[in-house]
Subunit: 397 residues, 2 copies
Amino acid sequence: MTELRDTAPATAAPGAGTLLRLLRDGRPRTRSELASVTGLARSTVTQRVDALLASGLIGPSGEAVSTGGRPPTTFCFRPEARVALAADLGATHTRTALTDMSGQILAEEGIDLEIAAGPEAVLDWVVEHGRVLLDRAGRSEAELLGLGLGLPGPVQHATGRAVNPPIMPGWDHFDVPGYVRSHLDVPVLVDNDVNIMAVGEHHVSWPTASHLMFVKVATGIGCGIVSEGRVYRGAQGAAGDMGHVFVPSGSDKPCRCGNTGCLEAVASGTALAEALTIEGVPASGAREIVDLARGGSVPVLRALRQAGRDIGEVLAAAVNMFNPSVIVIGGAMALAGDHLLAGVREIIYQRSLPLATEHLSIVSSTAGEGAGVVGAAVMVIEHCLSPGAADALVARA
Amino acid sequence: MTELRDTAPATAAPGAGTLLRLLRDGRPRTRSELASVTGLARSTVTQRVDALLASGLIGPSGEAVSTGGRPPTTFCFRPEARVALAADLGATHTRTALTDMSGQILAEEGIDLEIAAGPEAVLDWVVEHGRVLLDRAGRSEAELLGLGLGLPGPVQHATGRAVNPPIMPGWDHFDVPGYVRSHLDVPVLVDNDVNIMAVGEHHVSWPTASHLMFVKVATGIGCGIVSEGRVYRGAQGAAGDMGHVFVPSGSDKPCRCGNTGCLEAVASGTALAEALTIEGVPASGAREIVDLARGGSVPVLRALRQAGRDIGEVLAAAVNMFNPSVIVIGGAMALAGDHLLAGVREIIYQRSLPLATEHLSIVSSTAGEGAGVVGAAVMVIEHCLSPGAADALVARA
């Protein structure tokens, strides 16, 4: 059986992905070390290393110290060998980027683009500008690992389709990967914008955090959870729907979901703008609130502090139940300064148990508006370099 | 390197654990199938299968269909080859059991035992009665895989020590595994009682559930979470501390943790007993409340329904945030009938999003009081049969 497989044409390369996973840490290793760590037969390792070298995914990196005889060659991962395309689609603004396999941005572009223009127009633009970015970075489509997309609405990750998205006419159940792949034949991964922001923030600023919660406070309120290196999705992929958790201070406020007292109904940009306008401080939404806060408007600062407290109520419960190591507050409203964050901290430290908050960091987003594209790229990279997918990638090369 | 390892004495058997993990699904496989699936060299597979056969962990199970020549032998896992001891230590009652490697109980025993007697007296009893159970089942200490212990307080799982347990004088930071191993030289794993109940309930009643939350409602209120087959512990192991989440209905009630408005201060057995006594329905705790409920006391049924609603408030938020597939309500108070469960369901279906509740089961514990020992045994079995540990186990045999 082994013999048969070892001499078969390389339609697949089982084991290549396992070697690649090891080498992704950047440390050079010899063939002997790779055989020893994986338990794979030495002949299999030699063959897989040859296939990985041919694919360009690894390269020789030097020589190990000899124990007698010719010193053995060491090999290491080459993150520059392939590139990933990423697009973070917002309601009215889209950002695209090209990265290498370490998530480093090689080229990027932002444009005002209405998601409501519908999937075909928007995805045509993404593909076209993806090609522009490849050109600009001097890379070819053959080097492209895949495309990662973030959408501003609920996404069924397994199929890459939006499901009942409130602000995306024409997108409901549209086959995003299928449409893109008719123009660009690479793996296409789709997720909602908060999940890719959580992945990007984790990758850029908190790579060693075991449990990170990223809270996006903007027109709505959502949460992406990265648990032990992976997006936590829950049973139906519905995890992180923080905006519709009940908060006592909003008990009678109607929410667009049909319920009353949801967090989003009291603490989102939309809710704050409405409440401030009634108070005589007219505001149209999150961006204007940020401007007013920067101008020092006391009612706005007070409203932001209270919104932070309301968000903190929901997070305090999540801290006790799920014990994260980092909570990151991001999204347009987080640009208003520390008032929102101060409210969040006030309630979490008041309400959560000392054991759960002892080592907890509660911070503003540092990856900022670029978190989304980095996260979308990392999603593609992790998918394409997972052992099974990498076996196929090497066999194709 | 490979040659060296292959001819080295079997102080370790890398790969044996991987083969065992495959075979644990109960399906018989040939050596060729094992080599093909794992990518291990055929010679390695042959050697590891021999080691596994010698250890008794697998056995020949028949012959595969021949493709010409002598039909190859198939092998399968033998769950009866080893046994696990388990003890679920409560405040005043302890249950011990001996199981095989499928978690099937071979012998069990319950006894009234005060945890406050201190770790040495209690653990001496556990070891002594563990030996009694081994005798009764006709098994020897050499067949013992390990001992799993559940403690009624917060436990640092990695070290097996209780940390600031409120009802366990003498146990704080006591080295439980170290003490037990001076009497019984096997791996000792310790966790809190709610985590082992969650594992036991998952194993017995919901083995295919991807995300299960087990809520214990008794003197206090706690929650164990099993996510994709493993206990979810969070960053500091503090996950599941549900009893001290704030609930609006309890805003001014002081809690033993020093805060006010905790779920435990309004919905635990202790809280209900106090409130009912003030109302003129004297009750001493969870057990008496169950008796009164079974007798049809209207104030007690009303109190249970409200306690369910309060627990439901906390769970509704957890459903939106973490999207479990199953919520199990257990513990002494859950024995009072469906009134508690009805309150939980009322609020979750009212407050949580349709997508998150569409496939959500909210049920009473069916594994019942035996869930704890089964979970403690499963914890030991999973630990000892994990690939790395199993390699060592096979090498020792």
